[in-house]
Structure formats: structure tokens, C-alpha cells
């Protein structure tokens, strides 16, 4: 069954279209991540689902029920806000209880529910504190608890980790999926952080300037990004993008990288002699100290060891810069001259003019 259906949502503010024909469908129990830069329309969309903003056009259907004209208090959704939006004049306990006090008349059950969710989120010690006496992390957990306590059938989370420190964000990124799975609710999660998106999503919808740019599983978005922008947003270090112009010879279609011919899928033939952008994920590159026929010579410019990986900046003879990401500790230290091996299966080709990814097998630009 469909947990949430958005059909043809349009919203305008003073002549600007902030959401333009947005269509999304989420299965019950699935987590949808709305991903995009600020100003993309994610928050507006979330608020429409919650019912505090009305769409100008389109339908919002939650678990089969049309939400047209249904007040926010009657929608049965839970929501956590980016800025927490705690009620400053109520204790953490009252904040959480407020979400169920209207429907839950039994004092005992209300207390059980609040205590239960507070234990789950480890804030049971601070329930009698006012929001201003809570740490940022505790505020964030209180806001989450307030959204979760009523076991809503639809949970809306507006970038809940945005305003917490890195350590807490890391912890929550691990805890949240389990928490959400346990509730079994349909979740719409807004974020600007691709790692959160990848970690939590069953489905990712990439929004930009009010339009859906791409929609698919995390793997889809990562492996076949709709355009250079999405390709850059997903992945750390960011994808290498190189200006190329595909050529054709007897062996097939190729692009030139430092005088080496990198043969790509011959289905890219139609784009020969058109300016294109070659996308290579840093982790698909292999480095070697010895030259081979196809490998590209380059010099090591900088090595940045991170916890789980080492990022190396290389410069080819032609002056192009490339990032290579390798699992930490697996390779010997590199310096000076190295040789890059590119796997032609993992490269992507984008139209330079539109930025759209070129799909070898559909013979046309996606999206």
C-alpha cells in the first residue's frame, strides 16, 4: 500500500514557483529522503504534507486519504523541526506529552508513552528540564521524541541533525535507521547531507529549485546520477569531472586523457565530437608505481589520510587534477610519479551543455 502520494504539487510565492509539479510515491514503512540544497523546496513540501501550508495545486494522499482541507491536528503525522521548535515555556516532559495529550486521556498510558520514548532516546533523566536548560543534543532528542511518541503513521523529519554537533550527528546517523525501522512508520526525511541520505533512504528524491531532479534508490542516485550536480553532491571526496570530447577510431569510442585513449562504451558513438564531461568516482581509480599501456602518468600533489580512507590529489601531465580515494593502510606511501588506471566500466559521461548524464543504452540524455 502506498504510504504517501504527492500528485502534481505546485506552490508559488509572489510569482515565484517554489514547487513545480512534484510527484512522489512512498510505500508504507519506507523511508523517503528529500535531498537538495537550501531553497530547493524541501521544507515547503514537508510543511504541506504536515498541513501547515496549503499547496496551490495538486493532491496529498496519506495512507489512501486525501488531505485536502484536513487541518494539521487531524492528519496523524509527527514532525521534527530543524530548529527543534520546542515550546520554551514547557518542560521536556510537557513538550513530549503535548503530542498525545489530546488523544490519550489515560494519565497512566500517557506517562508510559512519554517515559518509554524518553528511555529509547536516552533523555529520561532530563524530562523535568525546560528546553533552555537542555544541551543541543538533548533538545534534538526531545524534538524527536515529541514527533515519535504518538507512533504516527507518517513521520516527517526536517533535517533534524542539521543543528547538532558532528559527534552527535555521527551517533544519530547510526541510531536513527534502527529507530525508524522499529517504528515501522512511513518516513519523509529532509537533509542536505548525502551520507544521511544514503544511510537512511529506501528512496531518495533530489529536489532543486522546486523540481525533482532525480528519484531512485541510494544506489541508483550514486551510480547513475542524473546530472553532474547530483554526481558532485553524492560522494566524498567529490567525483572527478573532466572536460572531454569523445572521438571514434577503429577500436571504438574513446576519450583522451593525457594522450592515452580511454575506450568507453561504443554506444556513446552519437556524442562523438560533442563537448562532454567525464565523471570518474575517486574510489574507482587504481594507482600503480609501474607504467602499463593504458595507465596515465601523474604526479602526487597532496596526500590526505582520513580515518577510513586516504585521499590523494594527482596532477596529470596535461595539467588535469584528479582525486583518488583508497582504503586507508592498504597501500604503500606514494610520492612523485605514479600511474593511474581507469576502469572504463565505472566512468560516466555527461553532456557538457546541459549537465545531464548520457545513457549509453537509451541513446539519449536521462532526466
Amino acid at each position: 500500500m502506498s504510504g504517501l502520494d504527492l500528485r502534481g504539487i505546485v506552490k508559488r510565492y509572489k510569482g515565484d514557483t517554489v514547487l513545480d509539479d512534484v510527484n512522489i510515491s512512498v510505500q508504507t514503512g519506507e523511508t523517503l529522503v528529500l535531498f537538495g540544497p537550501s531553497g530547493a523546496g524541501k521544507t515547503v513540501l514537508l510543511r504541506m504534507i504536515a498541513g501547515v501550508i496549503d499547496p496551490d495545486e495538486g493532491q496529498i494522499i496519506v495512507h489512501g486519504r486525501d488531505m485536502q482541507g484536513v487541518d494539521p491536528e487531524d492528519r496523524g503525522v509527527g514532525m521534527a523541526f530543524q530548529n527543534f521548535a520546542l515550546y520554551p515555556h514547557m518542560t521536556a516532559y510537557r513538550n513530549i506529552a503535548s503530542s498525545i495529550e489530546v488523544t490519550e486521556k489515560s494519565k497512566q498510558k500517557l506517562d508510559d508513552a512519554v517515559q518509554g520514548v524518553a528511555r529509547l532516546l536516552k533523555i529520561d533523566q532530563v524530562l523535568d528540564h525546560a528546553p533552555r536548560a537542555l544541551s543541543n543534543g538533548q533538545k534534538q532528542r526531545t524534538a524527536l521524541a515529541r514527533a515519535l511518541v504518538g507512533s504516527p503513521s507518517l513521520l516527517l523529519l526536517d533535517d533534524p541533525l542539521r543543528n547538532v554537533d558532528a559527534k552527535l550527528r555521527f551517533e544519530m546517523r547510526i541510531e536513527l535507521p534502527a529507530l525508524l525501522a522499529r517504528q515501522g512508520t512511513t518516513v519523509v526525511y529532509v537533509t542536505q547531507d548525502y551520507k544521511e541520505a544514503m544511510a537512511l533512504a529506501d528512496q531518495i528524491v533530489v529536489l532543486n529549485t522546486g523540481r525533482i531532479q532525480q528519484s531512485g534508490t541510494p544506489a541508483d542516485v550514486y551510480l547513475t546520477p542524473a546530472n553532474t550536480e547530483i554526481a558532485q553532491q553524492f560522494g566524498d571526496p567529490a567525483i572527478n569531472l573532466l572536460d572531454v570530447t569523445p572521438q571514434q577510431d577503429d577500436h571504438g569510442v574513446y576519450v583522451s586523457l593525457s594522450d592515452k585513449k580511454l575506450y568507453i562504451d561504443s554506444a556513446f558513438g552519437p556524442w562523438c565530437n560533442t563537448p562532454c564531461v567525464l565523471g570518474i568516482r575517486p574510489e574507482t581509480l587504481r594507482l600503480s608505481t609501474v607504467a602499463s599501456a593504458a595507465s596515465i602518468p601523474a604526479s602526487v600533489e597532496a596526500v590526505t589520510p582520513l580515518n577510513e580512507k586516504t585521499v590523494t590529489l594527482l596532477r596529470t601531465a596535461g595539467g588535469r587534477e584528479l582525486l583518488v580515494s583508497r582504503p586507508a593502510g592498504t597501500d604503500e606511501d606514494l610520492s612523485g610519479q605514479v600511474f593511474i588506471e581507469v576502469s572504463n566500466e565505472s566512468v560516466m559521461l555527461f553532456d557538457k551543455r546541459t549537465g545531464s548524464r548520457l545513457d549509453a543504452h537509451q541513446q539519449e540524455a536521462v532526466a
Partner: protein, 285 residues
């Protein structure tokens, strides 16, 4: 350089002293006068050395003015009561009418609501007699001329714009998300207004109420034109008292002191909000 700044700080000190003297002297003088008998008041040259007496206040409070010639009734305590009733009533009505309107204007900006808000604001600056003169005739026809309610209603001319524009600012300062969260938590529009918006704007509402009270209390022209003798507040009453009591200067002074004390005390209490109130929310102190 050092000498220069020494002279300057002396000049500053003198300037501040002159300013304080000019602005505080009349109040101090009237307070001193209220504790004197006519005899010491009329001394020339005047002197601050006198034996304080409470006779003036006693006469006002008992309502009996004993003169050599006769015993006069003073209605001054009644004026004081009227002032309290009118000001409290006017503020209460302005809060009941103004706070929900301020909320709706803060949260649902439409052409229509802005028009009302600005019309109310413009009343603050229109000449009061313009509406008061026709109102004297209407009030007689409607039977309002001898009622507290009629006056309280007219007092909205000063109280309502003040409440509306100050409280509206406080409502605008509340994060909309907090209200959204409460509604999504299952509460109606009205209970969100009651349980979230009003408590969070509470200090602003209280301050606006106090200021409206001060302005209502200090108002003169509305009651002068519209109030019958037994409904007059202290501002009108004091003026009439001066004319009626002739040379009972001690009592006049005591009456003035009693009339200005409530607003001065309230002003001290609400001083943090005075700047905002006086500028109708344009400047924050």
C-alpha cells in the same frame, strides 16, 4: 588634554544636574506642597522648612473640606475611583479585542488585515475632537452619555492601536515552527493561540496593557467632552477641583500627587517596555 577632559566632565556634570533639576523639581515641589498647610504654602519667601501635615490627604480621603466659612464636599475620591474603573475597563476591552486581532494580523497578513491595522493606527494621530464632537450628540441619542461603557468604548481610540501594534510585534517574534509543531501535535488553531502564542507573548501583552493603562489614565479630552459629572476621572476632576476649591492649595497639591502616583509607579515597573510602547513598537529599548 587631561585638563580639557576635566573641564568637560565638569560641564557634563553641571548639564546633567540642570537637566535633573528642571525635570524633577516640579514633582518634588508639588509633593512638598501637598504636606503643607495653606499658611506655610503662602509664606514669602518660600521655605522647605515646615512641619509636614497629612490634613490635605485626610480631607481628600474623607471627602470633607473644612474651611473657616463652611464644610465643602469633595468628590475627588470618586474621580479616583472613576479613573481606575475607566482605565481598567478600557485596557481589558482593548486586550480582549486587540490580542486576537494582533495574532491574526501577525500570522495571516492580507490586504484586508493590513488595512484595518493601519486604519487603527491612523486613529492614534487623528484629532480626537473630530470624532468626539459628533459623539456627544450620538451618545445622547443612544443613551450612552451617562455610562462608563460609552467612555470605555471611546478610550479604544488610544488603547487599541497601542495594544494591536505592540502585541503584533511580539507575536511576529515567535517562531512559526513552534506553533506548527503544536498543531501537528494534535491541537486546534485556537488552543495553539491560547497555550503557545499568548504565553510566549505574555511579557509583551502585559507591558502593552500597562502602557495602555497609563495612557487611558492620563487622558483628559475624552472625558472632558463626554463624561457627566459623576463619571469624571481624575484628570477632569482635578481641573474642576481647582476651580471649585479656590484657594485650598494644599488639597489641590495632594489631589495632583494622588492622581499622578499610579502612572508614575506603573511607569517605573514597566520602564523596560516604555520606549517600545511610546514608539508604538518602532523602537526597542
Amino acid at each position: 588634554m587631561r585638563e580639557n577632559s576635566l573641564i568637560e566632565s565638569w560641564l557634563r556634570g553641571i548639564a546633567i544636574a540642570v537637566v535633573i533639576l528642571f525635570f524633577m523639581f516640579p514633582i518634588v515641589w508639588i509633593i512638598l506642597m501637598s504636606f503643607q498647610t495653606n499658611e506655610t504654602i503662602l509664606r514669602i519667601p518660600p521655605s522647605v522648612v515646615f512641619e509636614p501635615t497629612l490634613d490635605n490627604y485626610r480631607a481628600l480621603i474623607t471627602g470633607k473640606l473644612e474651611t473657616n466659612a463652611a464644610s465643602l464636599d469633595i468628590a475627588f475620591m470618586r474621580n479616583l475611583g472613576n479613573s481606575v474603573l475607566l482605565s481598567v475597563g478600557a485596557v481589558a476591552l482593548a486586550l480582549i479585542l486587540g490580542v486576537p486581532a494582533a495574532y491574526s494580523f501577525a500570522r495571516h497578513k492580507t490586504r484586508f488585515s493590513e488595512d484595518i491595522a493601519f486604519t487603527l493606527l491612523s486613529f492614534r494621530f487623528a484629532p480626537p475632537l473630530l470624532v468626539l464632537l459628533p459623539l456627544t450628540i450620538y451618545f445622547q441619542k443612544l443613551g450612552l452619555s451617562d455610562t462608563y461603557f460609552g467612555l470605555i468604548w471611546v478610550y479604544q481610540l488610544i488603547c487599541l492601536p497601542l495594544i494591536l501594534w505592540i502585541v503584533r510585534g511580539y507575536f511576529e517574534d515567535i517562531s512559526e515552527d513552534v506553533e506548527y509543531a503544536y498543531r501537528i501535535g494534535g491541537h486546534s488553531w485556537f488552543s495553539t493561540f491560547r497555550k503557545i502564542a499568548v504565553p510566549l507573548a505574555g511579557p509583551g501583552i502585559a507591558a502593552a496593557g500597562l502602557l495602555a493603562f497609563i495612557f487611558a489614565w492620563n487622558n483628559f479630552i475624552f472625558a472632558l467632552v463626554l463624561a457627566s459629572a459623576d463619571k469624571q476621572p481624575v484628570t477632569v476632576g482635578a481641573l474642576a477641583f481647582v476651580t471649585a476649591s479656590g484657594i485650598q492649595y494644599g488639597q489641590i497639591a495632594a489631589a495632583i500627587v494622588l492622581s499622578i502616583t499610579p502612572t508614575l509607579l506603573l511607569a517605573l515597573y514597566a520602564q523596560k517596555y516604555l520606549v517600545e510602547g511610546l514608539s508604538l513598537g518602532a523602537v526597542k529599548g
